[in-house]
């Protein structure tokens, strides 16, 4: 489907920033209008990478659950981790990936707390490595 949504957002943002803003926006709104333009640029980038980021993060968290499940002493948590590790994303819509991501993140928090409480240092460090990867993947360069 052409033009892509990202093209529409980018071109609209350029027009907003270059032309429309200076004649259409009152002074107090020009800063806000510039932010609207920047947000449209961000949205264009998220349109391109949003599903990929979420799918990759979900896969990474599931892989971590499979890797660290053996470290967990709590039986109920261990079962939850095993079940989550076996799941796969069957839809690539953002809303579906986000719903999976929220479940996985909640479980990741529970796992992290459990590892801290049991002073499983190596496993804890492994969780931090994943959190660092997740943060780097979701970072939003300004330009």
């Amino acid at each position: 489907m052409k033009p892509e949504a990202s093209d529409i957002l980018n071109i609209s943002a350029d027009q907003l920033l270059a032309g429309i803003m200076s004649v259409a926006a009152p002074h107090y709104l020009q800063g806000a209008t510039a932010i609207h333009g920047l947000l449209m640029k961000f949205a264009a980038r998220e349109y391109e990478r949003g599903a990929d980021i979420r799918a990759a993060e979900n896969a990474d968290i599931r892989a971590l659950f499979a890797e660290l499940g053996g470290e967990v002493r709590d039986a109920a948590l261990k079962t939850q981790l095993a079940e989550a590790a076996a799941e796969r994303d069957t839809s690539l819509t953002i809303s579906s990936l986000d719903a999976s991501n929220a479940r996985l993140r909640r479980l990741l928090i529970a796992l992290h707390v459990h590892l801290e409480e049991h002073k499983a240092r190596a496993a804890e460090k492994r969780v931090w490595r994943l959190l660092k990867t997740m943060a780097a993947r979701r970072a939003m360069p300004l330009f």
């Binding site: 002074h27 800063g31 806000a32 947000l39 929220a102 993140r105 928090i109 959190l131 970072a139």
Partner: protein
Amino acid sequence: MSDALERRLAAYLADKLGAPELSVHDLARIPGGASRETYRFRACYGGVERKLILRRDPPASLIETERSTEFRAYQAFFRLGLPVPEPIALELDGAALERPFFVMAEIENAQAGSILAPDPYGAHRMRIGGQFFTILGRIAGADPHALGLQDFDRPESAGDCWRHELARWQKVIDEDEDEPQPIARAALRWLTRHPPPPAQKIAVVHGDYRSGNFLFDGAGDITAILDWEMAHLGDPLEDLGWALDPLWAHHDPSHPAGTLARDDAIAVWEKASGLRADPAALSWWEIFASLKGCAIWISAAHEYSTRRNDDPVNAFSGWYCLAFHNKVLADRLEALA
């Protein structure tokens, strides 16, 4: 701009200042952040014309703040001789202008540096940096009782500063978290398990002292420290940690606030405050600063998503700023794990 607002403002000020002849002209809305509506106007009374600023509450604020806090901080530090706008009037009752507001003097011929700009202070960066960290040191060194601010929100003791602030921002995250935040949650736990030493003193904490929240003139002099709405009492290292945060460093964390080298900035603060920036304690407050940032951005995203405040700055904060601080926290805490 609304003539009705001009008329209502004139009527209010005429009564408040005891100047029945007072008139208001040229009321115009200007940029002023997501937390308050800001207007510039001129008031004529007593044979003179004064250039003033009106700050009015929006229907919903970015962070819920005590309305009188900012006004009282301006009063106290204006008397102390720090560069802040002269406060004129505070109205907590929404009757006069529909919502609470306050009026202060306009700072003319000055600008704020955008946090998105790579080098907003240019040739003035050293001069501005020296003043920026000196003023922060003076705030830290001031006596809250002498300022009349001893009833600001405060911890029970110097040893409780960190717990008081951590609880404040954990509450914000608990209330406004729209999606699970594993990095912020882990940071909260880390900060709880590794408390800093007691504060050297309980000081006035500005709460949002950073690049972008002050005005400077063409000579490179800071003419006003703004946005005191999150001011409270606490550990003075809290403000220093926030001022040093990489988000406000204009893409160069080795030069906080886009000004001095980090060690120089800390030395200037120590000299002006008479306090010591213990590296371990400061490290805790810097990690706390990034966590506090996460809480603010989580709240901003919530405000925007629920349309309680659809200022685009809130959307920007929920995307860019939260991702930025998540990365800062993950990098720092992964190294400490």
